[in-house]
């Protein structure tokens, strides 16, 4: 269905149609109304809240009563609070470590799945099951699975599996990273599978004639050819990791102590548990800014022209 669309289609398509559009300016009137329902809903529940985050960060509100102006006091108190650096640190720790686990594994699995053998197609069917489960279901499962008294470790009498996984702060972060990988590696493998299949096979043929082994081919052809796929996948991983909420909330609720209190959880706890919507909005604004900054940074890494092409493609 989409096979015929070259990656650059959006760009060229836009140029062609804007050229033809000069004759159609008069006609754009009758169509324009069709955009209105989507536009109105998106403005009310997307744009307004985005502006609202910023506005609320300068107010004092307990979530129920009246909203009062608070000036810069929320920003001052949050930025000088020792909780914030900790949350940022944990967020980045989980972001970077889960990237480091997921990217090589997804690359490897994606390359493996790009082969067209039947058993690989069958394996792929099974790999993708974790993508169907809700984060809440996954967190609940692992909570039971890792229980130090009744979980898998004690059940199998395996001492190395019998740890207080979610009760020790060093282990809890590792568990979150493992579960995130379990949940999302299939998704990124799928993206890489698509990328690998687009690499011209002639490149591999030329390399094998030149005597390059498979490992060499992987690093000299597959990985460089996947540059933009890697950037797309990494952007999704990195920006997505800012919004891990469901999983951590159900799994540890930010604990033990504050060990897994990432920014999204910090926002929730301040806002909906301590009823301080102002400071919580400051955190929300920081999440938005951080997400935009990271997305732009990764986009720059890919070179702007090609990155936008990739995004549209």
């Amino acid at each position: 269905m989409t096979v015929t669309a070259p990656p650059a289609a959006p760009e060229t398509g836009r140029k062609v149609s804007s050229g033809a559009g000069s004759s159609g300016v008069g006609r754009s009137g009758p169509v324009a109304w069709m955009v209105l329902p989507a536009l109105v809903l998106f403005i009310v529940f997307g744009v307004v809240p985005l502006v609202g985050v910023l506005l609320l960060s300068f107010t004092q509100w307990d979530g129920l009563g009246a909203i009062h102006n608070a000036g810069l006091s929320n920003w001052k108190s949050v930025l000088s609070d020792s909780q914030l650096p900790h949350s940022i640190l944990v967020t980045f720790e989980i972001m970077i470590l889960s990237w480091l686990v997921q990217t090589p594994m997804s690359l490897l699995l994606g390359t493996f799945l790009a082969g067209r053998q039947r058993y690989r197609a069958f394996l792929a069917v099974l790999y993708f099951i974790p993508l169907l489960l809700s984060s809440a279901a996954i967190a609940i499962t692992y909570k039971a699975l890792l229980d130090p008294n009744f979980g898998l470790g004690p059940g199998l009498h395996l001492d190395f599996l019998t740890q207080d996984w979610l009760g020790r702060s060093d282990l809890a972060v590792g568990v979150v990273i493992f579960i995130v990988s379990w949940q999302f590696i299939p998704f990124h493998s799928l993206i890489y599978q698509g990328g690998v299949r687009q690499i011209p096979t002639t490149m591999y043929e030329a390399a094998s004639i030149d005597g390059a082994g498979r490992v060499r081919q992987f690093f000299s052809i597959t990985v460089p050819q996947l540059k933009y796929t890697i950037i797309t996948s990494s952007t999704l991983m990195v920006v997505g990791s800012l919004t891990f909420f469901d999983l951590i909330f159900v799994l540890t609720a930010g604990g033990p102590g504050d060990a897994t209190r990432v920014l999204a959880l910090d926002m929730y706890k301040r806002g909906f548990m301590s009823n301080q919507m102002g400071p919580a909005s400051v955190i929300a604004a920081l999440i938005v800014l951080l997400g935009l900054a990271l997305a732009l940074l990764l986009r720059r890494l890919g070179g702007s022209a090609t990155a936008s092409q990739q995004e549209g493609a």
């Binding site: 015929t4 300016v25 069709m34 009310v44 529940f45 197609a121 169907l132 043929e205 926002m267 935009l292």
Partner: protein, 296 residues
């Protein structure tokens, strides 16, 4: 795009001799193969454990080997889940998912149609830019103002409160994917229909709709899965038990019956089952839905 071709390509693509050698090399990739089988185990072990345990009674859970098949299989756990109002939560999830997807895909399709057909209009180009920017807004970060809005609209603790923000946040990606598809419809087809006196609305229904049906399915599945599994909106925008959707119900059920692990796992199986069935029936659409807009 590779996703769409991948599965159909398995059987139809002929192996030609020049590319054969390269394929052979991919086939012999033993390291990848090793990783592939290990990953399979990592994926399947917890899933197997969930299913097996959900058929054990509590005493068997404490005494039996975790991976052993239940010595006396029981469906009591499932009965407990069903009796704990899960049919109600299931219905809520269906209402919210369908009530989000139909309007979301409908208005996104109209918007995408307008953006393509009205190309050249500065207004529509601006709207398109706004939607593209919307791709970068995370729902989580806007939850506090959304909560305020829902309270002000007197929608707090209603299913509609869950649908409206979900619709809004599914618009950007839906419009992106659908514009890419409508753009592929040959212009001549629109011209000839227009000459025949068709209105824009008639062309939308008679031409664009049938030709972009695969994309509509893809977009529906992508958004549908997100809404079905959504946790944050129900957690914050609803309160009473009869408004719970499945993920939230799972969480409260787990809080209530945390000692009864087999029952908790039965609830996990039951809430996931509808999607697994959907997956079994329409794997290809679901997978392309999962990567909608990313690997096209």
């Amino acid at each position: 795009m590779a996703v769409a071709t991948s599965n159909s390509g398995t059987t139809t693509r002929p192996v030609r001799s020049p590319s054969f050698r390269a394929r052979k090399l991919l086939q012999l990739n033993w390291f990848g193969g090793l990783a592939g089988w290990i990953w399979l185990a990592i994926v399947l072990v917890p899933l197997y454990w969930i299913v097996v345990t959900s058929f054990k009674d509590q005493s068997a859970y404490f005494t039996q080997n975790p991976f052993a098949l239940p010595s006396a299989p029981t469906t009591n756990n499932y009965r407990l889940v069903v009796e704990s109002d899960f049919p109600r939560y299931f219905l809520n999830s269906v209402i919210v998912t369908v009530g989000t997807i139909l309007p979301a895909v409908g208005i996104s399709f109209m918007a995408a149609y307008a953006i393509i057909r009205g190309a050249g209009s500065k207004f529509l180009a601006g709207v398109n830019g706004l939607f593209l920017m919307g791709l970068a807004i995370p729902l989580q970060a806007t939850i506090i103002p959304v909560y305020l809005l829902i309270i002000k609209m007197h929608l707090y603790d209603s299913l509609l409160a869950l649908m409206l923000p979900s619709i809004a946040f599914s618009i950007p990606l839906s419009v992106l994917v659908l514009t890419n598809f409508i753009r592929d419809v040959p212009k001549e087809l629109f011209e000839s229909m227009r000459v025949d006196g068709a209105t824009e609305w008639g062309m939308l229904r008679g031409l664009a709709l049938p030709l972009t049906r695969p994309a509509l399915v893809t977009v529906s599945i992508y958004n549908g899965l997100g809404v079905w599994n959504g946790f944050l909106l129900p957690l914050i925008l609803t309160q009473s038990p009869d408004k719970r959707t499945l993920p939230l119900a799972l969480w409260t059920f787990q809080g209530q019956y945390s000692v009864n692990v087999p029952a908790v796992l039965a609830s996990v199986v039951l809430t996931t089952l509808p999607i697994v069935i959907l997956y079994a029936v329409s794997r290809r659409q679901l997978l392309s839905g999962l990567t909608a807009g990313f690997s096209r």
